[in-house]
Symmetry: C2
Subunit: 242 residues, 2 copies
DNA sequence: GCAAAAGTGTTCACTCTACACCCATGC
DNA sequence: GCATGGGTGTAGAGTGAACACTTTTGC
């Protein structure tokens, strides 16, 4: 890290961007936010929201700013976490562009409204990332596919699923998050016990929610725990569990 | 990501480096590789091995090259994985330097020998990262502390522990890895069953290893599985498990 | 035989799953 | 009452921790 000044032929400057993998649940589907590119390269193609990091700005601050600018979303109430850096020499035709991908998870986020760049933003089903329906700019297809798998794994070991719920939520709401993301049904009674036996996962508010029909459901909010102990493992076809 | 050219006042170029968190087991201790800095800033202080990424080089290739240059280690046989990007504006007094940290795990690596920069390299006990014994350059203390916690978590959910073992190893060798990294004793018989019941974790070679005293032990090599299913959870004081 | 370490068996408690059952609400 | 969904109970299978026991080597 010492001598990058003396050998600028081989090293050279690079440009730093953040790109956002924003997931939410809408209509019982996992959705990802995309923007349509307005400039070359990849003009007109869908891409991850993102942009350059400014001087004197941390990566996280840059991600929060882009969240507001490109997606019209106030990031202060959603979960934001770094996924990784992507910097392959050929990934951007304009030169060495390093992008740091961030994962953002939020409750049923609004349809992006006009404003700055948000007019070009739209929600797409996350399933389309894996079935070949979508073709994205740069290496964004690969990044988002990794992000999607990370989400599926993350809700096993952490309380990340609560990030998809509103401030208060019923256990049914939380269960729906798991069912949609894992695409598998979960037994309501056993799910209930698992969650409540995992200390710090959720805490009861004391309030109730009245469904259109049926018994009222207790409301909860996120607990203080983030790492789940024990984790909430999804059923797998492979592996030694039934 | 479109318009970074037109607003160079606020954006500006950055410099891209990779830094390495290299862990190994030596004398039943988890050790981390450090180098003594030969230049300002932080002249004379210990730091992570690392350096700038060259043009037309992927991050991974840069990490492998620095592994050879700064640590004298052939990276082809050890586990290498990206940890994350660090780019806080103040982290390097010379300007915006983005570093991508890589985690490298290997079996009892040799003491670094003279060569290029490797003469300044040395192994330090990983425990010193957390007890205040060490003071490192830049934000390397924080990066390595995160890396250490990541190692402890990683061997729960993945077969990363095998990366600390040689090509072939006994179950005792593998158990020692867990015991050292988690700093807790594990029951040999139960450990044995857990490992062998986790399909694809290890596979028997058919050979044996003869200990100085005692019954010969079967030798194994890594299996094809990376994600463990079920995971191998360490005992925690908190949490709902006994 | 003795010591040491590998490897097996067994017990007991706890956890997980499936599913029956009861409870609280709107109509 | 009936339908609907929340919430509890329970039997049986499975898992995990503790530890006794057997096996294989060197001396």
């Amino acid at each position: 890290m010492d001598d990058w000044l003396k050998d600028s032929d081989e090293v050279g400057p690079s440009w730093l961007t953040v790109d956002l993998a924003i997931f939410t649940l809408r209509d019982d589907q996992l959705m990802v936010l995309l923007v349509e590119r307005g400039l070359d390269p990849f003009h007109g193609m869908p891409a991850m929201p993102g942009g350059y990091v400014q001087k004197n700005e941390t990566l996280r601050d840059g991600a929060l700013r882009e969240l507001a600018e490109e997606a019209g979303i106030d990031g202060s109430r959603l979960h934001l976490e770094q996924l990784g850096a992507y910097a392959d020499p050929g990934r951007d035709p304009r030169g060495r562009v390093v992008t740091v991908a961030y994962l953002a998870l939020g409750p049923d986020l609004p349809a992006p409204v006009g404003g700055t760049d948000a007019a070009r933003a739209f929600w797409a089903p996350a399933a389309h990332l894996e079935d070949g329906t979508l073709t994205l700019a740069f290496d964004h297809q690969a990044i988002l596919t990794e992000a999607l798998e990370e989400v599926r794994r993350k809700i096993e070991y952490t309380a990340a699923a609560t990030a998809f719920c509103a401030e208060t939520f019923t256990l049914r709401d939380l269960r729906t998050v798991y069912q949609v993301i894992w695409d598998q049904q979960l037994d309501p009674s056993n799910f209930r016990r698992k969650i409540l036996n995992t200390t710090g996962f959720v805490q009861p508010t004391g309030d109730q929610w009245l469904p259109p029909t049926g018994r009222p459901a207790a409301l909860y909010r996120r607990g203080q725990a983030w790492l789940l102990n024990p984790p909430l493992l999804r059923a797998t076809t492979t592996g030694s569990r039934g």
